[in-house]
């Protein structure tokens, strides 16, 4: 039977991932904040993601080696958390809140308008690689719903008519 384990896949295919020296240092600094090195792995994944936009296979192994933990553990964590991306995403990531208070204030109409405007569904990226659309838990902006984030910026309330202008700001 073919060995399809992650480590094997990377050893044979080698996706050519190289950890940036600065990022390696940042991971080691993080590691010092905790009793055990594994605690730094979520931050390490985010460090990779900040530079590359997502987390390629090779990064899993690089993080495991840097922190001295198992690659399987890092992968287990990477696939659990919704804000760690194991596939390439667009230049800008849109997180649309689909929780109850936004639902009460117009989420469904906004969601439909946004998907139509982008021509994609949740979990997809526009063909030009500009936007990825994802649902997100209550953003803690419920007093101004429906709310959404684009990259690090939080917006609300957003009406369908605001979308053109809003998206224009993220070329």
């Amino acid at each position: 039977m073919a060995d399809t384990s992650l480590a094997r896949r990377i050893a044979t295919d080698g996706d050519g991932f190289e950890l940036h020296a600065e990022d390696r240092q940042a991971m080691l600094t993080e590691r010092a904040h905790y009793e055990q090195p594994q605690a730094a792995c979520i931050e390490a994944l985010k460090i990779v993601q900040r530079r590359h936009g997502w987390v390629p296979d090779g990064a899993i192994v690089a993080i495991a080696e840097t922190l001295g933990v198992g690659a399987g553990d890092v992968e287990g964590v990477a696939t659990f958390y919704s804000l760690i991306f194991r596939q390439p995403v667009g230049r800008h990531v849109i997180l649309l809140c689909d929780s109850s208070s936004c639902f009460l204030t117009g989420y469904e109409a906004l969601s439909e308008a946004l998907r139509e405007r982008l021509g994609i569904g949740y979990g997809q990226t526009t063909e030009d690689g500009r936007f990825t659309l994802l649902p997100v838990c209550c953003l803690g902006a419920c007093d101004r719903g429906p709310a959404m984030m684009i990259n690090d910026d939080t917006f609300g309330p957003i009406a369908a008519e605001d979308l053109d202008e809003l998206l224009e700001a993220y070329p």
Partner: protein, 450 residues
Amino acid sequence: MSAIPDTSRLRYHCQLRQSADERRAETHPLTWRLRDDGTCIQLDEYRDKQGYEAALRTLEQRSPDDVISAMKEANVRGRGGGGFSAGLKWSLTQVGDHLPRGYLVCNADEMEPGTFKDRLLLEQQPHLLIEGMIIAGYANRSCYGYIFLRGEYKEAARSLAQAIEEAQQAGLLGRNIAGSGFDFDIALHTGAGRYICGEETALINSLEGKRANPRAKPPFPGQAGAWGKPTVVNNVETLCNAPGVMQHGVDWYQGLSGGLSNDGGTKLYGVSGLVNRPGLWELPIGTPGREILDRAGGMRDGHTLKAWLPGGGSTGFLLPEHLDLPLDFDTIGQYGSRLGTGLLAVVSDRQSIVSLLRNLEQFFARESCGWCTPCRDGLPWTAKLLQALERGEGKPEYIDILEQHTLGLNPPRTFCAHAPGAMMPLESGLRHFRPELEAGIAQASMEGVS
């Protein structure tokens, strides 16, 4: 090339709906220092406004056990939704000096649908939280504190990182704080999504860099938590209550609720939904829903109040007739709901309860950590049945199946409080709005039944 549009008018700004002249140190301990412009209070200003006086005096004059007694007597109840006595939780770390010094973890994972209160404290007044954590860390003999902040709270991360650094430089964190002999420091830990991280044992797993599955209790985190050490997990708002208790005393804290409630202190209450002025207020705990709804300007034109969730998606629906109840933990618990986070979500008469329940159960189904089967499989099932009812394609037995889930998804069948929380709106929805759910049963299937 066209210019990039200015989107600042669309940006979200967290803002308290009470202006500075309405807020006093003696009556608004959580918010009196906040600026009307909503910008973050830096160390100098915080100290000018009596900041860190409570923590420093506590380290100098009180013993850890003293602090725990004060928190118990004041009856500070957990503001993360459970209402558990903070003093009682802290007393778990008291059992014997043979225990190693452990950790204090602030739960800043705020993701409960409809909840936007911790954000205010984190973004605009991080030093109050740090001061509360110093007091809590001292009482629990913790060696280190973590603030577990949800990853999406970018502005809060900036405020907190800066405040931690300011406090470290001023000797308020680190070795031998202000010459007291107490060593305590804080690190900011940011998450990467998933609602379940807010459950305190899942949060500890996540802090340790693992998948956020909850842990079995006992042992309770206060006995064996992060890396097996005694660990106290408290909500942001809970910790922000500690400086006031230590500064002004137990009687003052008890008196804050002004006879409205047996609970002490104030509460950040809020309203979301189709009201005229949604927002946040610091009010005596036990303030009735009606007063809060009035502050929110009442329902928008053309809408009447049909139901409300008192404190997040995992609390049960209340009706307009419940608006005069004091909003505190014990009272709301007697009406088939929970105070939860105390942020009201109001439901208009024009909103289908079936659709709202479907939205809620889809949320809880997606956010199940997948550890135990009743939750992992049961929640998607309820969402599916509700979806069918919403479309008028339900079958008569769907109502019974939904009901069985509300009865069955409880410990020990479920491993944590996620699934029971998910069942609260459904159970109360069935209790209050059964005909509306039954209306989703397809006519054709009704004919077969008779």
